[in-house]
């Protein structure tokens, strides 16, 4: 059982995390940031996240905190 918190002020919408999450729990959101890019959102309705931190390790902007 885990969860992540994405800091939208740090995130630059590179989408590396969306391709890294083994369970596909990070998705492009409909909302845009101040540069007009679609932000990412953590979508874990079925509590699948195990807090593996792979998304955070590959995030170039340290925008993801991981809890387990």
């Amino acid at each position: 059982m885990g969860k992540i918190v994405i800091d939208n002020n740090r995130c630059k919408s590179c989408y590396i995390c969306t391709m890294t999450c083994p369970k596909g729990l990070i998705k492009k959101s409909d909302k845009t940031n101040r540069l007009g890019d679609y932000m990412v959102e953590f979508d874990d309705k079925n509590s699948e996240c195990i807090g593996c931190a792979m998304c955070a390790k590959r995030c170039p902007d340290m925008a993801i905190d991981v809890y387990r």
């Binding site: 059982m1 885990g2 969860k3 002020n9 740090r10 630059k12 919408s13 590179c14 989408y15 590396i16 391709m19 890294t20 890019d37 807090g51 931190a53 792979m54 955070a56 390790k57 590959r58 995030c59 170039p60 902007d61 340290m62 993801i64 905190d65 991981v66 809890y67 387990r68």
Partner: protein, 245 residues
Amino acid sequence: MQQIFSKPKSMKKDFRYTFCPGCDHGIAIRLIGEVIDELGVREEIISSTSVGCSVFLYDFLDIDAVEAPHGRALASATGVKRARPDKVVFTYSGDGDFASIGLAESMHTALRGENITAFCINNTTYGMTGGQLGPTTLMGQKTTTSPTGRNKDYYGYPIKIAEHIALCDGTAFSARVSLDTVANINKAKQAIKKAFQVQLEGKGFGFVEILSSCPTNWHMTPEEAHERVRNEMMPVFPLGVFKEI
């Protein structure tokens, strides 16, 4: 629930990386920060960085730092270490900085076996100035100053930095790592730690070449850029440890 992944303590409290989206500099600096935390040496560090995107290191890490002109980080670091042998000294450069304009300084620092740790981000281009041909630009690679691609007759060949540094007798550790996958990021951190440890043990020069993507200047998405690191860079710049004593 407990927080199991957060920013290293060696990093400044409130900052936002000024690198382009998807740039690997952010990961490299975070790994250095994590290693500094694990070794508990933040208060003993004096770092030197010169010119290029790497110069921003000291906006993000909460450590003492002195700037050097382009290519001279290793000379500056030599001065720091000789003046204060008890301090932990490291440099952070790009490939142009370390292996083109600063090749003499870098190589001689390794040859002298200075107890210094050096990191070189190799992204096969001059990132800050907008993607020109650099010392590690791959054969065939198009840049703004090699519009038809690098060919040997016109531009010569790229340099394999980690292998050259490994040839120096004063080098205690030389490795090449990549940041394209979680597994490689984990290995990169181990190498970064080792490069600091040889300094702390007084064994000599510790060096890590870090293959990095530059999505902006390669005109690729961050994920495509990482594929390029794997498919085009790694065959020319193989990952591995080239020297360890």
